[in-house]
Symmetry: C2
């Protein structure tokens, strides 16, 4: 999502500048390509200050994943879809909201943690775990609404609220990859439309009996 849309927790200016630089540079070119020199330059922070705040690039990446979780949590918590009374409307509203923020440059709407974990899942377990925690915590917020919607609408199915919540994240992460390959959000938007249609079908009375 666009950086300008997110709220920021209070912290030391140099530390926050470095975290913001990590968000920007890693989303543009990945974790390995982002050098400490470039991160310092982007943050307009001296290298000594970098090592005052972080042991090294891996520590910054872990902190950046946690910072990403905090800022995106606040961003989604403030989004309008939570106002819906029917939890199914909140789930569909979440998907519509994800669709609506697929704007601007590809690096602005794609995901820090999905980008990092793609490269470092095997080489940097600490970063992988921070990325997993970020994706899982976000999915848990969707899972709660899906579980409430299943209860309200009397859905008994082989699939679980947990698996559908994780599936929404898989679709979004994969949609980002296709958008990167094509240099356009259009293919991602089409995939999010399929995700919305799937959720509609799962909660339709006829589909409900069949699922």
């Amino acid at each position: 999502m666009s950086d300008t849309l997110m709220t920021r927790p209070a912290m030391a200016p140099a530390r926050q500048k470095l975290l913001e630089a990590a968000l920007a540079v890693i989303r543009e070119k990945g974790y390995v390509a982002a050098t400490v020199d470039e991160l310092c330059a982007r943050a307009a922070v001296a290298k000594g200050s970098f090592f005052h705040h972080f042991e090294g690039k891996e520590a910054l990446a872990v902190a950046a994943a946690n910072y990403w979780s905090e800022t995106t949590s606040a961003f989604f918590a403030a989004a309008p879809y939570h106002r819906h009374k029917d939890p199914l409307d909140r789930v569909l509203g979440y998907i519509d909201f994800r669709r609506a923020i697929l704007t601007g440059e590809v690096s602005e709407f794609t995901c820090l943690v999905g980008t990092m974990v793609q490269e470092v899942y095997d080489s940097h377990p600490a970063i992988r775990d921070a990325c997993d925690a970020s994706i899982s915590a976000h999915a848990a917020t969707i899972e709660a609404d899906i579980a409430a919607a299943m209860k309200l609408h009397g859905i008994r199915a082989k699939w679980t609220a947990n698996s559908l919540a994780l599936h929404t994240q898989a679709v979004l992460q994969g949609a980002f990859i296709l958008a990167k390959a094509r240099g356009s959000a259009d293919v991602a938007i089409a995939s999010v439309d399929h995700l919305r249609h799937y959720v509609e079908l799962l909660f339709q009375p006829n589909a409900r009996r069949a699922s």
Copy 2:
């Protein structure tokens, strides 16, 4: 998918060894982290031989994406799901086949081109284009069966065979990312199950009228 499952086109041994090394190393740690020295060591090929066959690492990556397309095309073309007479069974059979090959190490079942494009979409347009071509060509094979299934089953919908084919690839690419974050294929398998269920619902008579 597992390397051992794929057929290989004939070519100079050193060139093929370097391409195989690129597939293995890049799927393990990404494009930027894979050094020429490591690729040569993995291939058991001298550095002079590397530069005889490739101008540099970017040229190897482009060739690796094309090689990936060739070998995976042959692999999928030989898969059993093509035998089904009903094109819908071929589409569902494709999804079942993708589910069945989610085995072994994460680096063995995840996608070379999805991994590379995640990092280099902005920094290496030649690699991005080769990754896009690979994903698009594979999606086109699914699109043909989806289009035939829509025709046979009288589906008139807002969605297109092209968008559903690309959506299958988005789900798979995103499922790989979640598998990397969790260090397990289980979450990817659950997402592929949701994809299958979606296709079933799209082609069900009741869902058909509603879509």
